[in-house]
Symmetry: C5
Subunit: 93 residues, 5 copies
């Protein structure tokens, strides 16, 4: 899973019907070095808000997280990080 | 999902028969930093046009978006972005 | 799908039996910026030749393109590009 | 499989119920050059501890490693490395 | 498929039981530019040795190459390259 920060929302009127009602959030990878940090969109499944650090899954696993294999979604937020404890660079939210 | 801009079209006469009739568009990632921005081809499912910001899924999820698991397509446009609201760097289309 | 140029061939005598008879071509991504261009091997399904621009799918989609889910192949050429029309940087083959 | 070092733990109270009880560890790729080293979270399946070098699988394979295809997890630790013997740059843990 | 060089071996005593008996080799991508070359571990299926150039598949395709969909392995060597013929930069092993 990727360690990301929720940094915003995205709205789309014209979209696949299965996306109707999903909370689509803009997330940015935070633990890899600055130059490679990816920003992308993930469907929220745990009530995450902007500014929170979250765990994100992608690919076919995102469809598992959303509970239906035929969904056109490939990234999902599956947890809100309380504490991230990393050797030599201890970090607490 | 990746946040991309539609930047063009691609035509191929010799191709797998399942690609016949698909609208294949050239898209470029826009939210990640410049150096890593990928340009690739996605099948359109929502009537997107050049210049629009779109949501793109890839891998096995693209086949779900296109509604058939045996298609030789691994990228699909699944939504047209109206508004992208990002903390500290608010953006509106 | 990735936009690649066919740049060569690869021969392997010792290989999985399912690869027997496949035309394995060396391809290089051409549309992303120079530094990230990947070079890899894809199985040809459309009669592509060296020097041509092609559409390449990867992962489980490559097995769909080759028509059998149990093949040990994860990249396939699915179309030969006639014209690539990109905004602000029009390109024609 | 990726060669990673376990560098920490992550705790999440709000999460998908299937993640309950899993040991989620922060890992960092160690063999690729410094600039591209990714840091991410993997579920432990072999009793790995901080400071150990481990083998990590991702994508649908992580769900195989965890023994259930419907889990919302896309990275798993599947082995603890005793010795890594690499030509021209012999390394022993 | 990726074009890699076999550069070493990896040993792990504590590992998932399905990995027992597999020959796990350290491989490095060789055709992409130096900066992005990845080093990782792949299960050998064709009797490859250190110093040889090989074709590597990843993701769900690696499980196909190993002949069982429930294996916790996501990279496999599927061929040993005899000759790699690339335009403008002819290479022979």
């Amino acid at each position: 899973m990727l360690i990301c920060e929720v940094i915003g929302h995205v709205w789309a009127t014209k979209k696949q019907p299965e996306l109707e009602g999903m909370k689509l959030m803009v997330v940015r990878e935070t633990q890899t070095n600055e130059k490679n940090n990816k920003t992308f969109v993930a469907a929220d499944t745990v009530g995450a808000g902007v500014g929170e650090q979250v765990l994100v899954v992608d690919g076919s696993t995102a469809r598992r997280a959303l509970g239906a294999d035929d969904l056109p979604v490939d990234c999902a937020i599956v947890g809100i990080i309380d504490t991230l404890e990393v050797e030599r660079e201890k970090k607490s939210k």
